[in-house]
Amino acid sequence: MNPDIKKNSIIRLFNVSKRYNGKFALKDINLDIEQGEFILISGPSGAGKSTLLKVLYLAERVSEGQILIDGMNLARISSSRLPLLRRRFGMVFQDFKLIPNRTVYENVALVLEAAGQKPDYIRKKVMQVLRTTDMDKKVKSFSPSLSGGEQQRVAVARALVGEPSIILADEPTGSLDAKSAQAVLDFIMEYHKKGATVLIASHNLHLLESTVRGRNIEITEGTIKRTATML
């Protein structure tokens, strides 16, 4: 038995490989992530950090190997059950991925509407999470009128509103100034303290290493080169 496998693992990867046109983006990845753990996935550009996140939320299927999320084998998830898997994740992207012709409120509410929540609950919950991310005064604004930092705070609010057990963030501070980046990380960390598992793929080692306690998994050319504990 692999000694790295822990009892309360929420994410497990077994010999996961992903190939694009025969070239490995991920190669033979074995990983075990505990519930409530904070994981920093670091490495140079093109190392496979984003691909690793993509195979977790099934934007991409693995070429080889298996992934278990909270006991669910991703290889066996049908397209009809895929939305249920995705609702377990809160996702944050470098380019925010906000719907430009919807207001801040509507962008955040989308998650709960998609989950079939009642309007009263949606209103209450969205306002609550927007207050947490200091965006409650801009509920009627459209995303193109916001600064990068504000857009990312809306994206974080959207990631948190469904109270997911796992946060996946792909370069969440990549296009932000230092102050905004710190604010975004603080919101994620605040949520992490409540027991959520967080995986952040980022270049911004300095900021993250000084902010969080967790594991740094360094990826190079699709393979795990090094694993280190932060703080």
């Binding site: 009809s80 995705r86 996702m91 719907i99 998609a114």
Partner: protein, 291 residues
């Protein structure tokens, strides 16, 4: 209001030009179809009216005298299919003619005597075909005192032929224009989908089901079909109101029916089909895109 309807209305508002063009184009297709339906319904009513009580005039020979009338009536009634029978004497016929041609009275004043024959006007019960009417007229002609029978054989035969021709081409045109309406909706939904590709991608990422993603598009297709159908019928109604009164008045001496607008049943059918086509166009488009 359902969130899907709200979303569809918002999308229509955001892409109002594209949606207005679509609704207007669908309405034109529906208008063409409705014109055919209007023609069929009215032509159908003419035929039905004729079938249910077609008239014929039996013109009698000059040798006819009033004491022959009871026997003539008996013989005509004996042929069956007679709903009503009225004798019109030559003097009565001239009076009627004078009233009807009051503007050309000078011509009638120059007449030496009465050139019109005595006649019997009959109303027949239902007939399904022109052949049966012809056979019936032939039997009447065999009565010695009968000079001729006039039952509109000329115009009726031509009318039936034209009607049947229109019916066939009408069905083809209706089918064609329904297809046009469907492809227009399909194309609009496709354009709307591509313009909202990012939105669809984000919806999927946050765990929206395919039903949740597709529903607003379907509602949009349904609304386009419905509004296109209603608008097409409104245009037809406006056109009908503008021209029908004049046409009915000018044709009234020659026809004994008025041109009516589509029945409620047909209106509902057209709107239903139009709405369905909006939905079906959307279905085809999404099936292709989200394969």
């Amino acid at each position: 209001m359902s969130p899907f309807i709200k979303k569809a209305l918002t999308d229509i508002r955001l892409n109002r030009f594209l949606n207005l063009v679509t609704i207007f184009t669908i309405s034109l297709s529906i208008l063409v179809v409705s014109v055919f339906m209007l023609f069929f319904e009215n032509a159908g009513r003419v035929i039905e009216a004729w079938n249910q009580g077609g008239r014929a005039m039996i013109y009698l020979k000059d040798s006819f005298t009033m004491d022959m009338l009871p026997e003539l009536k008996n013989r005509i009634n004996g042929l069956g299919n007679i709903h009503d029978l009225v004798f019109i004497s030559k003097d009565e016929a001239l009076d009627r003619l004078r009233k009807e041609m009051s503007s050309s009275n000078t011509f009638l004043k120059t007449l030496q005597g009465n050139p019109l024959p005595d006649a019997v006007e009959i109303k027949m019960t239902s007939y399904n075909s022109i052949e049966k009417v012809e056979a019936f007229a032939q039997k009447i002609k065999e009565i010695e005192i009968v000079e001729d029978v006039e039952y509109g054989q000329g115009w009726l035969g031509k009318f039936l032929k034209i009607f049947n021709l229109f019916k066939i081409s009408g069905y083809a045109m209706c089918g064609l224009f329904f297809l046009v309406a469907m492809f227009i909706t399909s194309n609009t939904v496709r354009l709307a989908f591509y313009s909202r590709k990012l939105e669809v991608e984000i919806m999927r990422l946050v765990g929206a089901t395919e039903t949740f993603i597709k529903a607003p598009f379907y509602v949009e297709g349904l609304l386009q079909g419905f509004l296109g159908g209603v608008l097409g019928l409104v245009i037809l109604l406006a056109t009908y109101l503008m021209i029908s009164s004049g046409a009915t008045q000018s044709l009234s001496p020659y026809i004994y029916f008025d041109i009516r607008f589509l029945s409620i049943k047909t209106i509902i059918l057209i709107i239903f089909v139009s709405t369905f086509l909006g939905w079906f166009g959307c279905y085809l488009s999404l099936k292709q895109i989200l394969r």
